[in-house]
Symmetry: C2
Subunit: 171 residues, 2 copies
Amino acid sequence: MATEKLDTSTEPTVKLLIQQCISAKLQVKPPSADGIADGEFVTIEKGIVAYVSFLKSATVESVTRAANITLNVKLSYDEATSKLQSALDTNGDVLIIPQACLGGKLKGKSFQYHNLMAKDDSHALYQVYIDQCKQIMAANSVKSSLQHGTYGNRQVLSVVTNGPFTHVIDV
Amino acid sequence: MATEKLDTSTEPTVKLLIQQCISAKLQVKPPSADGIADGEFVTIEKGIVAYVSFLKSATVESVTRAANITLNVKLSYDEATSKLQSALDTNGDVLIIPQACLGGKLKGKSFQYHNLMAKDDSHALYQVYIDQCKQIMAANSVKSSLQHGTYGNRQVLSVVTNGPFTHVIDV
């Protein structure tokens, strides 16, 4: 397991939001326009939902750090030890959701998204983030499931929780 | 509708997280220990889920501003105008969830909550926030429903969305 310090205090490059869930379901392909084909979904059981947004200053290095934080931060209640453990420790499933809007700033009564990374670059970093999470889970021989949303799609999400225990992390 | 500028850029006093939902269900009273009485739940239909955390610096004034922002920020997609409108404009239901952990800070692999307001003071401000939201909705003769979690309880939440469209607001 990574031992490097996870916390950061400089200007954010990646915005992470982590919620705990009992189960979650996410549409990864919308129904066909002609209504013939249904939408396609992925599901996870007990674990974490990780929403991610990439700001202009995001780099492969900071995204790798974000993946590390996502899987190593101790936010999942472990019945066995009655302590908060990481998703890796608790073999929790992971559902990754691209959520660019997390990087928005309130201006008047609306949000502005000037600080977001450009779409294509952000899409590339989204893939880096997924791959890094997969690698960390494989390296820790974790058997749980990692699912992720389709970048650019509407993220039609349903979540069942025993308390979301929501945390925001600037990386 | 409030016309004052909503955005703030000073040190946060209240942390708000707003998600859009199609419906949401929240336990407001857990099942009885003897298992005889079931848990009690509140539900909302289409609208917003507003998670709130009060930091040490929160005041009645900043909490009033947070209530104003919650109901006036334009984050709800309005089918009629194909524009983003506020919960007030769209007659959206509102589910308020106390979520102190939103005010935590990552330190190493764990979170610290040193900047949170003390429990009793925070509970009092939570009530101010609910009352303010109710007043704003009444003043705008909005027919939609406002429900809220029980402060101090585990927030057993389920949400169905057509895209959470998650936004974090520091007030």
